[in-house]
Symmetry: C2
Subunit: 190 residues, 2 copies
Amino acid sequence: MELLKRAILERGSVVNKDILKVDSFLNHQIDVGLYNSIGKEFKKRFENAHVTKILTIEASGIGIACIAAQYFSVPVLFAKKTESLNTDSDCYESKVYSFTRKRDYKIRVSKKFLNKEDKILIIDDFLANGKAAMGLADIVEQAGAEIAGIGIVIEKGFQEGGKILRQRGFRVESLAIIDSMDKGQIKFRE
Amino acid sequence: MELLKRAILERGSVVNKDILKVDSFLNHQIDVGLYNSIGKEFKKRFENAHVTKILTIEASGIGIACIAAQYFSVPVLFAKKTESLNTDSDCYESKVYSFTRKRDYKIRVSKKFLNKEDKILIIDDFLANGKAAMGLADIVEQAGAEIAGIGIVIEKGFQEGGKILRQRGFRVESLAIIDSMDKGQIKFRE
């Protein structure tokens, strides 16, 4: 997706060969116009997937999922990372290791909101090692629902997540795949 | 806002006199059509406030802020609750006590994204004791920016947050104000 790649090049910054900062438009400050283009592109790619619900994970995935859901006319469901007093006790749970936070955390989705008839589109802002997407897929499978696909805004192609998910047979659509960021140079996959 | 009140009555559930569950449409599963109506209503109420940016807090505020921002044609900025490797070190910080999580947490916004010329609309899903909104307002004031107003989806009118914020001179627009939930009966403020 050219508009996204241009935003990454012009407004992102490479911190080191592993870390890309896109906090000026994607995951801290949000360019809602760009989110709309991203949402339309997900709709185009999953046009015939008969998506019934979009599943994402807090926090950065929520805005993207909500904007995209407008084009699919389906509800959004977001997995919660922390337990609060208001969390439903009857939940599907999965464990996710976060490399950025250097610890395991549980993700939870209330059982009320997933059922066997659902065709779920999983959406997230980043795909790196794939742990978050695997946790979400695990939850969908626990519910006996179908995974229509996985929509990612930026895939770090030099990490293993995309490969693992595709080998497991999931349809992964990443709108920009970065193959390397060596010496501060972003190389996109063709 | 009648559509919202109807959703609360028909799809919400009163857990006890203090806790309202709206996780089927507002803060776990999301009815994006309702979010759109909420966004339009915020635009109507803050039509002449010359908002330059919407500020919210992760996680539930993000989707509402993104959908609302479409009507204002401004960026969204969301305060982060936890420190990760990718968090900017040059941040405005404030401390917030969460009654649902029973602990203090820090919220952070990168200094890059707030400046003196900004007129900030603060948006959140709930207003109860007002701690989150006060923390966000504190951050806006640290940046020397102006607070155009505070837009809340559901205000628990029987808690003190709304009163405190209005006494501080903020324009608070809550789309539904609940005055009591005694015996499972939701009473809205007229």
